[in-house]
């Protein structure tokens, strides 16, 4: 082997080794989350795990029922997505099809700016500005509830939905639109009857990725939802999501305790949920991608 060949091989080995890191990290994440939560899963019955009482600290008997956390996440996430979809999808259609170039120069940076604001700052804004508004508008005792959390999460999902939908809409072939216009359809008719249906799979994927973003969001939601672990589907009630539970309680548990393992189990459920959402969204994007 010549000196050059040796060097080539060394470089290639280093580079391919480095690219293994991502795989290793993913495997380690799954391994450690499952490892820390498995003992709890094995010793507790499914009935207890999916019971409706999350009472992690108690003098009498502790309960680690995941149901209130699941419904909390479900309620906040679904409300957030219902709010985010019209803004995200219509915003994307407007930016991709209707906005003049100069408008794009304004709209896009603002969307990127929104994506760049840290979640703790969004949460702080929600706490100080939005919560009092929600409290006064709906005449509530406190503004810290599921609705306030959902509005903040919607704000955080909008940039994701817009940027991925925008790509999908712009990849609709111009010939489709030209054919529609040539048949006498107006611009709006073309957008809603030709472009939009064609871009729909991409938009659906964008919404799924938005859901993934929202369900895993921690800080903002922890700061404004009031954090009561009760089962409710009422938007003005205080709720506690899976993410907020981990963030709020992990700091105070003893390593290796049931509570510690239960929190890891919550994390594992969260990881699996987002993993499935992501893989399906990528499949959809890939299937309908045009080159």
């Amino acid at each position: 082997m010549t000196k050059h060949e040796l060097k080539e091989n060394i470089v290639k080995t280093i580079l391919s080794g480095a690219s293994l890191t991502s795989i290793i990290i993913v495997l380690l994440i799954f391994f450690f989350l499952i490892k820390e939560s498995a003992p709890f899963l094995l010793k507790t019955s499914f009935v207890d795990i999916f019971s409706s009482r999350w009472v992690p600290v108690s003098f009498i008997e502790e309960h680690f029922g995941m149901l209130p956390l699941l419904t909390g996440s479900l309620l906040v996430t679904s409300m957030a997505i219902i709010i985010a979809i019209p803004f995200g999808v219509i915003g994307a259609v407007y930016i991709a099809e209707l906005a003049r170039p100069i408008e794009k120069e304004i709209l896009k940076p603002f969307i990127e700016l929104l994506a760049g604001i840290p979640s703790v700052v969004i949460g702080f804004f929600g706490l100080v500005v939005l919560a009092p508004i929600v409290k006064n508008v709906f005449h509530l005792g406190t503004g810290l509830n599921a609705l306030t959390g959902a509005v903040l999460l919607a704000l955080m999902a909008i940039p994701t939905i817009i940027s991925i939908s925008d790509d999908a809409i712009r990849s609709v072939p111009a010939s489709y639109k030209q054919a529609s216009m040539a048949l006498g359809a107006t611009k709006m008719q073309t957008i809603w009857k030709v472009t939009f249906p064609d871009a729909l799979p991409g938009i659906v994927a964008a919404i799924m990725l938005g859901i993934g973003r929202v369900i895993g969001e921690t800080m903002a939601v922890m700061m404004v939802t009031g954090n009561a672990a009760i089962m409710t589907l009422y938007p003005f009630e205080s709720v506690r999501t899976m993410t907020a539970t981990i963030a709020a309680e992990m700091g105070e548990v003893a390593f290796g305790s049931d509570h510690y393992k239960a929190l890891f189990l919550v994390g594992t459920i969260l990881l699996l949920l987002t993993f499935i959402l992501n893989v399906v969204a990528q499949k959809v994007l890939k299937k309908y991608r045009r080159v």
Binding site: G116, P118, L209, G251, F264, G267
Partner: protein, 283 residues
Amino acid sequence: MTSKVKDRFVFWLMCGISYFIVLIVAYIVFDILYNGLPAINWEFLTTAPRSGGAEGGIFPAIVGTFYLVLGTIVVTLPLGMATAIYLTEYAKQGKFTKIIRLAIVTLAGVPSIVFGLFGLGLFVIFLKFGASILAGSLTLACMTLPIIIVASEEALRAVPKHLREGSLALGATKWQTIYKNVLPYSIPGMLTGSILGISRAAGETAPILFTAAAFFLPELPRSIFDQVMALPYHLYVLATQHPDMELVRPLQYGTALVLVTLILSVNLVAIFLRIHFRRKYKW
């Protein structure tokens, strides 16, 4: 006629909805600037908090965030760039690259709090780093890795094929070609894309909650095994745990403003650099 009126109506509705988002973003920024600016002064930026965060400044939190980001860069940048070079220049499309891509996509979708749990399980407890700059940086590095890879790949792909072919035709080896003819033109793009990704790490709270952050430390950290204060965590604690909210309100806004300014200014620099280099290298 009616369809024209309807079209107009729908157009303005869509326009209104789009600009409503802009309005909200502008309001958030305005609110933080308006309430945060009065809190910013030399003392706030250069001294440590006093009286449980009710007085004094946020200097240790700024330093802590700086250390965490620096640690993240040192780990994630070489790894991410190397992965991108391998994927774009060496790897043939096949099973292996498919698995790597799946891993990258998965990593990008993992919630930040799950990274926090993972960092706690692996770095803090299993590897016994304790809650420290090292554990926090490594956790943040895992989180930013996919962003670096994707940004770097994009920059590498932007280098035209003929630059590679010319070099190879003259007898250069593959690595010589990449090193001399591809990297010089793609490094600026790789760096700016990566900066945009890493700046996100500066604002993250959830991954460092159990792996690095402390609310108050009397001294600045001396080694990578020390805990640190960090801006996002400081804001979180001030905003939710302090007994006298109205008293610390200006400090909360001040901290938020410093954090947002830090992230946005880094982003702006990256964006300007990108525009600059795009003009410089036109194929």
